[in-house]
């Protein structure tokens, strides 16, 4: 759940009037959502790379990889060798970014032309295609295939969660769209849950695992989700040692050897994260049903609590009513930096959220 927030923070959407009122304001605001979504998924840190990888999804994937690598002292880095494909079929060969690359190849693009007509994609982002080849770093060639698929899948998950959250902010969320996105998220989550333990199993076996197998991997799933959940808060995990394997995509995270210390943190964290994740999905529907601004605020603060506490941010103090992992972190103070400092380092990235809360 916090993952998409990470992307949003790094590239806050353009300033707009909140709360929404009036038809024109609503109309004017609707378009920026598409742009906002775009920008929110293209973190500035990865811009340099995105020009090489030539794709927004690639940028997202690369940013994910970067965050993971930064968090731990490990030389293993996942680099997307080729940009993800538009259609993520399981078991498909190494993906090609057919749309974006073709756009670059025809050479008929105006550099400043941003019309939807010329790109397959939403407005706003200029796609540059310098080349297909990427610098290949890291020694785990076999993992690259798997990890790129997983990175793509992760990007899709992030994008879906962002869509859910953003549509949550719309005045009238389209229930059908939200349900479809939520189902996609569930599907990915299921698959990641299964992949976490059965990476080598044939695709059809991973399709519909019996319930008991899912239950038995719940602990591992929690850890896996904790991995995901902690990503958008790089500051929190800086001083925190994790197994080198855990740097890799979630596919292998379940196999990471767990230090008691780290597992304690992760149990605290991911439990919150996973709970928040589920809660956020549930809350989305509840809020869709009841729909009032305070619910949105509630949703945001609950979702955000796992890795940073809004109260902390706003008051500049450590701790707070809804800081789960923050409390956990305090217990592990020697191993981790003070949450307040990490929170403050993320302050710039919280502008968007704070703006909403303050102005609502």
């Amino acid at each position: 759940m916090p993952r998409p927030r990470g992307f949003e923070q790094e590239a806050p959407p353009p300033a707009r009037e909140w709360p929404i009122s009036g038809r024109s304001a609503r109309r004017a605001q609707r378009r920026p959502f598409v742009d906002a979504e775009w920008r929110s998924l293209a973190p500035p840190r990865a811009v340099g790379r995105s020009s090489l990888s030539g794709g927004k999804l690639a940028a997202a994937a690369v940013a994910v990889a970067e965050q993971r690598t930064r968090r731990a002292a490990s030389r293993v880095r996942i680099v997307v060798t080729k940009a993800p494909t538009a259609c993520w079929n399981r078991g498909s060969p190494l993906p090609r970014f057919s749309c974006g690359l073709r756009v670059g190849r025809t050479g008929r693009r105006d550099p400043d032309n941003r019309s939807l007509k010329d790109t397959m994609f939403a407005r706003g982002l200029k796609r540059k295609c310098v080349g297909h080849e990427e610098d290949v770093e890291g020694a785990l060639a076999g993992l690259k295939t798997v990890s790129s698929y997983s990175l793509q899948r992760q990007s899709l998950l992030d994008m879906s969660l962002v869509k859910l959250q953003l549509c949550h902010m719309l005045v009238e969320p389209n229930l059908c769209r939200s349900v479809l996105i939520a189902n996609t998220v569930r599907q990915i989550q299921e698959e990641m849950t299964q992949d976490g333990t059965w990476r080598a199993v044939a695709p059809q076996a991973a399709e519909r695992a019996p319930l008991d197998r899912l239950v038995s991997t719940e602990i591992l799933c929690r850890a896996a989700w904790g991995q995901e959940g902690a990503h958008p808060a790089p500051g929190l995990g800086d001083g925190h040692t994790q197994g080198p394997v855990s740097d890799l995509c979630p596919v292998t995270s379940a196999q990471a050897p767990r230090h008691p210390q780290s597992s304690a943190w992760e149990m605290d964290g991911p439990r919150e994260n996973r709970g928040s994740f589920h809660k956020s999905l549930d809350q989305i529907f509840e809020t869709l049903e009841t729909k009032n601004p305070s619910c949105m605020e509630e949703l945001f603060s609950d979702v955000d609590s796992p890795y940073y506490d809004l109260d902390t941010v706003l008051t500049g103090m450590m701790g707070g009513a809804r800081s789960g992992p923050c409390e956990g972190l305090e217990g592990l103070a020697p191993a981790t930096p003070a949450p307040s400092s990490s929170c403050k380092s993320d302050l710039g990235e919280l502008d968007h959220v704070v703006e909403i809360l303050v102005e609502t």
């Binding site: 259609c87 479809l180 569930r186 549930d282």
Partner: protein, 434 residues
Amino acid sequence: MHEGSVVADIISTVEFNHTGELLATGDKGGRVVIFQREQEVSGGECKIKNQVHRRGEYNVYSTFQSHEPEFDYLKSLEIEEKINKIRWLPQQNAAYFLLSTNDKTVKLWKVSERDKRPEGYNLKDEEGRLRDPATITTLRVPVLRPMDLMVEATPRRVFANAHTYHINSISVNSDYETYMSADDLRINLWNFEITNQSFNIVDIKPTNMEELTEVITAAEFHPHHCNTFVYSSSKGTIRLCDMRASALCDRHTKFFEEPEDPSNRSFFSEIISSISDVKFSHSGRYIMTRDYLTVKVWDLNMENRPIETYQVHDYLRSKLCSLYENDCIFDKFECVWNGSDSVIMTGSYNNFFRMFDRNTKRDVTLEASRENSKPRAILKPRKVCVGGKRRKDEISVDSLDFSKKILHTAWHPSENIIAVAATNNLYIFQDKVN
């Protein structure tokens, strides 16, 4: 093909009436514009050019504001005035009746003509001002005198406060006394005369909203059997219900679903299988469904798979991720039958629309755009090329404009006249053979 176009707000629904004489469009601004077909020039000299072109043109007949934007104070939500659907009632007297709906409220409008007005009031003068009673010395009987034709639309019924979720469909029953309105989770049955009550006939809302995985996307009554209706879901299923079976039709009578093709499975499989429109054929024997990439024709007697599947724009299958990113994958395309149920039509991107002949299995892609068609010009078939080699006149997939989508089309009930809504332009095409 003969063409006319009107610029308005973004058109959100298009519907011919039962005779095809009137064409109603609803737009995002809550307005309804009704076009009327010009009377054909009689005399049989239809080969003369200027008589041909005057034959059967649609001109603006009436315009009125159907819905206004509202505010739901309880939920702090704006209610859009966009007209989601218009459905005509069969004509029973000189006036025309239509149902129009936005997200929350259905309204019954009466559109009537007035070509005479009374003159010679005793108490009012010609301008309508009250006369001083002291100046009245004689009495006279007001006389009806002809006047310029005036078309007035009056709201006769307002069916409100019955839907928690957004209304996506309305359908008039063949008994002409009831109609249904469907939102994302419920379907209500109304009687035209009663506005403060409706019967809930389908409710798929789970007790725990967290378990919500499926919504209703479209619903329609059977054209002849007033007890039968179908509704489609976001999971690609169609349920046929019989209202005689029970008051609450949560248990379907028939369940139409095509088994998934495992080779095509992806994360987007469910999204693209979501049905955006369902239409009964005029005969009542078939239903047609539109999902993101295909149009399917189902026989009511066969539930396990459709009898025909037509690929609308299969070249988009490899672009699904991008379309998911820019939300185009959630576009709800409609589909229509022609009068004889032999041809089906649906829209696509880049202002393209497709027609499939069910008998000859031929299909054609046409474009609704100002640049490419002049009035009375014949529409040229278009082609989208998927491979590397692009022929002249072909357009490559990457050059398609995804902001120009044709979601709403309509087909005249008996003639080969189609109305195509391209964003805020309405195009009317006619088969010149007719």
